[in-house]
């Protein structure tokens, strides 16, 4: 570990404040039981990496946390508000939870700057000038201030994903959800996105990240969750998780993913 990383890790403080609490949560798609008895607590400042084979329910799990997917049984509390079918609660939670998608989902008909200012203006009712200042500051932070007036279609995949991160940050969220943020990117663009995410982690953001980037998990995460078949199989600190996996399925998964 270099000095910089050591310093960074020290700055990543976890507080006692509870941000997300999921208890005995189940979800079905029709007859198919996708999520089985999920229990998970996330404290402010935690960086959690969720991994597992495809179809294990990891994306569905984080999509339940801002109600892009509906759960059928159990409870999900986010920042002290319970997620129910109550639209008010859903809107309140979505204001505080940012999400970054695998396919970026930028709005192609708006410029980069407009993508970033849209939610602050329409959801937070921020004046346009102020929203633009905030947006430019975040675009600076993800290192693409010069692209502000372009359209998303004119940017590379890595740049688009960094815009998507900036767009979420403009809402000043308390929690950031990442749904396989680097899976659709070319190898040489993965690093530029991960660098932004690492920096974000060092700034103390509460993050949940579905990813296969095990290097990211090792350096940034304070907890790794392994899912398979809709269940949380194993949950541990990264050091322990990678060096001493408990269950057979975890060992198998790690041997496959780390083999090459």
């Amino acid at each position: 570990m270099t000095d910089h990383e050591a310093q960074g890790a020290a700055s990543m403080q976890v507080s006692d404040q509870e941000m997300i609490r999921i208890s005995e949560m189940h979800k079905w798609y029709g007859q198919f039981h996708v999520l089985k008895n999920i229990n998970l607590n996330v404290k402010a400042g935690e960086r959690i990496v969720v991994c597992g084979p495809s179809g294990s329910g990891k994306s569905t799990l984080i999509r339940c946390m801002n109600r892009l997917e509906e759960h059928q049984r159990g409870e999900i509390w986010v920042d002290g508000v319970e997620l129910t079918s109550d639209l008010k609660n859903i809107e309140q939670i979505r204001r505080e939870v940012g999400m970054v998608f695998q396919h970026f989902n930028l709005f192609p008909h708006l410029t980069v700057l407009e993508n970033c200012t849209l939610a602050p203006i329409w959801v937070r009712k921020m004046p346009k000038g102020e929203a633009e200042d905030v947006a430019r500051a975040y675009l600076e932070r993800v290192k693409i201030p010069e692209q502000a007036d372009k359209f998303p279609g004119q940017l590379s995949g890595g740049q688009q994903q960094r815009v998507a991160i900036a767009r979420s940050l403009c809402m000043n969220p308390k929690i950031m959800l990442f749904d396989e943020p680097t899976s659709a990117l070319d190898p040489e663009m993965i690093k530029e996105v991960l660098d932004v995410m690492i920096e974000l982690a060092h700034d103390g953001m509460t993050m949940l990240c579905v990813t296969h980037e095990m290097g990211f998990a090792k350096t940034v995460a304070n907890r790794v969750i392994f899912m398979d078949g809709g269940e949380i199989i194993e949950e541990n600190e990264p050091q322990e998780f990678f060096n001493n996996p408990q269950s057979e399925r975890t060992q198998e998964f790690l041997s496959q993913i780390l083999a090459h």
Partner: protein, 375 residues
């Protein structure tokens, strides 16, 4: 190794190759001709055949339409004596009626003024970079009321009954009203058809399917005759207004289906991104989904508008005197018999100019809204 190309090649160290100019002869008219018209034997034959066809068709057409045509004459016989081509003198004599129908001659300035104001109202809507667009848009909002007052009269102007409306003026009234009101109505129907609320979905789907499943003629007949049976006796309900309503809902049903196609083409991720940032339904529709869906639907929407504009001629069947009605009436003039071709060609030219303009505008709009690759 012998160098076969005429351009000098030089060897560069890998990594230091400069950007070179393209070879000469890749641009220019001659190349375009060779590439597009004379690229193969089949293409050459096709080009020559087309040129021969145009040679056969265009000169006689031009002769008839312009060169041999008679633009001023007192009767058909005078016309025929003066030239062999089209007898535009007839149209010239009847131009007032073709344009205004039976609108009182001394009040025709009101129609002209309305048309002028229409252009002023439409410009800021269609032309985004217009100076002072915001203020002008307010005028566009007021225009329907101003135009209704100008055309119908009252409040200081002499009233004109709608059965005196006719000609191109009537076509424009039906076309513009139909277009302006059917677009928002169609969008609402399309959204309603996709609503999570079953009741709204059922109503919208039922409405769309019913209107689309019935010929416009039927609706116009309902408007002209049957509505009287349903309304309490003694209620008068202007025929033109009834026709406008029918034409609008007819075209709205089609617009709704075109827009629904556009809505379905917007990726699910766009809805999710809008939801995830906390936008409410109407905001996410207005700001995210509809701008993209409508952009995709432009060709279909304009197609529907063109259809609506031309279908406005159907009102002749229920006795409104649109250009076709005026044309038919004027053909029975004994001084001007046998000039049906001139009349219908003239009307066709009017419709072609209007519809072709709409088509060109839609292409301009598509290009303007193109923002790089789709995501």
């Amino acid at each position: 190794m012998p160098n076969t190309s005429n351009a000098p090649t030089q060897n560069y160290v890998p990594g230091e190759h400069p950007d070179l100019k393209p070879p000469i002869g890749q641009t220019g008219i001659l190349l375009w001709l060779r590439k597009n018209l004379f690229s193969s034997t089949f293409n050459i034959v096709l080009t020559l055949a087309t040129l021969y066809f145009l040679y056969l068709v265009i000169p006689p057409l031009l002769n008839w339409l312009v060169l041999d045509a008679v633009f001023q004459a007192g009767s058909r016989d005078e016309c025929r004596a003066l030239g062999e081509g089209a007898c535009w003198g007839f149209i010239d004599k009847r131009l007032g009626q073709f344009t205004y129908g039976f609108y009182p001659i001394e009040e025709r300035w009101r129609v002209n003024l309305t048309f002028l104001l229409l252009v002023m109202a439409v410009l800021p809507v269609l032309w985004e970079k217009m100076p002072k667009r915001r203020i002008m848009l307010w005028f566009s909002v007021l225009f329907p009321f101003v135009s209704a007052w100008l055309l119908l009269g009252g409040f200081g102007l002499e009233s004109v009954n709608t059965d005196q409306f006719g000609g191109f003026m009537l076509t424009m009234i039906i076309g513009v009203t139909g277009i302006v009101f059917s677009l928002p109505m169609g969008i609402l129907l399309a959204l309603g058809r996709q609503s999570q609320l079953h009741f709204i979905r059922w109503i919208c789907t039922g409405f769309i399917e019913f209107i689309r499943g019935v010929p416009l003629i039927t609706l116009l007949f309902v408007a002209s005759t049957m509505l009287n049976y349903f309304l309490p006796p003694g209620t008068t309900f202007d025929l033109l207004l009834r026709v406008l309503i029918m034409v609008t809902i007819f075209s709205a049903a089609y617009i709704a289906e075109v827009v629904r196609g556009g809505l379905q083409a917007v990726p699910k991720g766009q809805h999710e991104a809008a939801d995830a940032m906390g936008l409410k339904y109407w905001a996410s529709m207005r700001l995210i989904v509809l701008p993209q869906a409508l952009k995709i639907s432009i060709p279909g929407i304009v197609n529907t508008f063109i259809g609506l504009f031309k279908d406005s001629t159907l009102v002749v069947i229920i006795g409104l005197l649109d250009p076709l009605g005026i044309g038919r009436a004027s053909l029975s003039d004994s001084k001007w018999q046998g000039l049906a071709t001139e009349v219908y060609v003239f009307i066709a030219i009017f419709f072609f100019i209007c519809c072709f303009s709409m088509s060109r505008y839609s292409i301009y709009l598509e290009n303007k809204l193109h923002t790089g690759h789709r995501i």
